[in-house]
């Protein structure tokens, strides 16, 4: 998920939105005669070959639309400029889509290859899709600490290292509200989905106290800064940690024992889709071992596709950044939509933290 490499482009979001409203009439039309699907996902979240091969095999044309963040995706979807047939988003945003009745039920059992998706992941998906009827898992991973073993004395296993001031000026936090609050909430022993104002205020206190020790709040660059040795540790996604370790073998990744966020991206079929048959073909195609493998090798986030996991080398399978083990995610939670008041409070506190 959160492939926000070019997050700056969000600056252009408003412009893009304006344009998409202007071209609403043109883009929304489906090409006649030929079957086609408009899919909406994150940028660079899929091997382009997979789409090509799908068109080759099924004769169904695919228009790939992309967004950088779940929020941007929601805004674009809701603007109604383009009628997307399928959409791949992230746990809490999927929950929002489902709750707002934007998705159609999918007959998962009819997807021949859906059995490739392990039970563990269907369980995870229940956090936002309790009956497993709206979404098909695509990628997943954890959030943890990537640290430089050459500059950290003892092994890291707790969020405490970020907050105890021992690595003042060497810590990089996520420049994303929920992820940063997650670390503080989990460290304090609370749920990352807490709706208790006091718990959030306590987390805020901790984060404000921590701010002078924080080198920067970054998103994708977080990994690069640790790789380059500009910082000792950073909160990163497991997939990013995998890539980081390819560049710097001194790096180690840990999911703290207090637990963390486990994220899951999945596909849903929107209410605009009038060709369920084609949508099912597409989803089934994505679950097929060879295609799932292609996608996995394209971005190296953890795949829920057990057929792919089984095909990995022993070394790869033992890599916790690629295949997070069951016990590492024991205390982890899927991030869910916060209550509106809590969300507003967090937004407000986040601004306060940044202004401090």
């Amino acid at each position: 998920m959160k492939k926000m490499k070019k997050r700056i482009i969000r600056a252009l979001l408003s412009g893009v939105l304006a344009c998409s409203i202007l071209c609403a009439a043109g883009c929304g039309q489906k090409s006649e005669g030929k079957e086609s699907l408009t899919v909406f996902s994150y940028g660079e979240y899929m091997d382009p070959d997979v789409l090509e091969q799908f068109t080759e095999e099924s004769g169904i044309e695919v228009k790939y639309e992309e967004a950088l963040t779940p929020e941007e995706m929601y805004a674009k979807y809701k603007s109604g400029a383009i009628e997307y047939d399928l959409l791949c988003s992230t746990d809490y945003m999927l929950q929002k889509f489902i709750n707002e009745g934007e998705f159609q039920k999918i007959d998962i059992d009819a997807l021949e290859n859906s059995k490739n998706i392990g039970d563990r992941y269907w369980e995870l998906a229940k956090a936002f899709d309790p009956e497993n009827e709206y979404t098909v898992p695509f990628f997943w991973g954890t959030l943890g600490i990537l640290y430089d073993t050459s500059r950290v004395k003892e092994p890291v296993d707790s969020w405490e290292v970020l907050f105890n001031g021992e690595y003042a000026g060497e810590v990089i936090m996520q420049n994303s509200m929920r992820d940063t609050y997650m670390a503080a909430l989990k460290y304090l022993g609370y749920s990352l989905n807490t709706n208790d104002e006091n718990e959030i205020r306590k987390a805020q206190e901790l984060l404000v106290k921590q701010k002078p020790d924080v080198q920067a709040y970054l998103v994708d660059e977080a990994r690069d800064e640790v790789v380059a040795g500009n910082a000792v540790m950073a909160i990163v996604y497991s997939g990013e940690a995998y890539l980081g370790r390819q560049y710097n073998e001194n790096l180690e990744y840990v999911v703290p024992k207090e637990g963390s966020n486990v994220w899951l991206d999945a596909w849903g079929v929107t209410k605009y889709c009038d060709n369920m048959e084609a949508a099912r073909k597409f989803l089934d195609f994505l679950c097929r071992e060879d295609m799932a493998k292609k996608n996995f090798e394209y971005i190296y986030y953890s795949t829920p596709n057990e057929a792919v996991i089984n095909s990995l080398s022993d070394e790869e399978r033992a890599d916790e950044t690629l295949v997070p083990p069951v016990d590492a995610t024991e205390n982890c939670e899927v991030c869910l939509q916060a209550e509106p008041e809590i969300n507003d409070l967090m937004n407000e506190l986040w601004k306060e933290l940044k202004a401090d």
Binding site: R10, V214, Q215, A216, Y217, L218, N230, W350, K351, A355
Partner: protein
Amino acid sequence: MKKTKTMNRRTLLASPYIVWVIGFTVIPLGVIFKYALTGQEGGFSLENIGAIFDPIHFKAMLFSLEIALGCTLLCILLSYPLVMALKALNMGRQSFVMFIWILPMWMNFILRLLAWQMILSNNGILNFLLTKLGLEALPLANTGAAVMIGVVYDYLPYMVLPIFNAVAEIDEDIIEAAKDLGANGFTVFRRIIFPLSIPGLLSGIVMVFVPSMTSFVISDILGGGKLQLIGNVIEQEFTKSSNWNLGSGLSVSLMIFVLLSMAFTTKNDVEGKGSAIW
């Protein structure tokens, strides 16, 4: 008869621009104002416009102002010596130096900022050189100073160009005359070149002050997400908090503020010649 004919042709020529102005200025502005003047639950509200006085937003605004004023001032101070040096060169060289000067602007703006991030980071190029020279490393990364360097670097050409154009227009005879009458170099600059360059200076100020006041990318990249300009707050409201009403409200307040400060800047434009923008 002839006159109306040319008028018609002119109107015809202007029509694409009218469409442009309506489509890309008037309508978007209208949308922003509509959002700014409605509350999140709908209905008219002035709350979003007034939100600028919220301590957090106000602080971000003051910081933006500080960056914008500092940037404008530094750009002015850096521009004049360069322009004077350029003026001393002959035509061919002048355009060559100018070409070199604007060359980086053809490179993507984000790339240039990322390069600055590399230069200023803890183990970056600058600190590498400093330590090699036996000096203390400068912890510039993710500070206000880094943001200031970024804005000055990015907007300096927008100050140099209009000032240079204004200065290049000055009749050489006037300067000769002043010299004949015994003015030294500094007096020539103070009494002739500077006053005559004011129209250029004013458009330079507008072109530097406004974007540095409203920018958010620079502070995000070079400030490490620790510094919050008003642009960052607005960005957050649009992209993360999904509160377009507040975001628009803050944008409108910012716009009003910029307009006021511009009015203040151009008030002394005695000649009425005005800058290119006004």
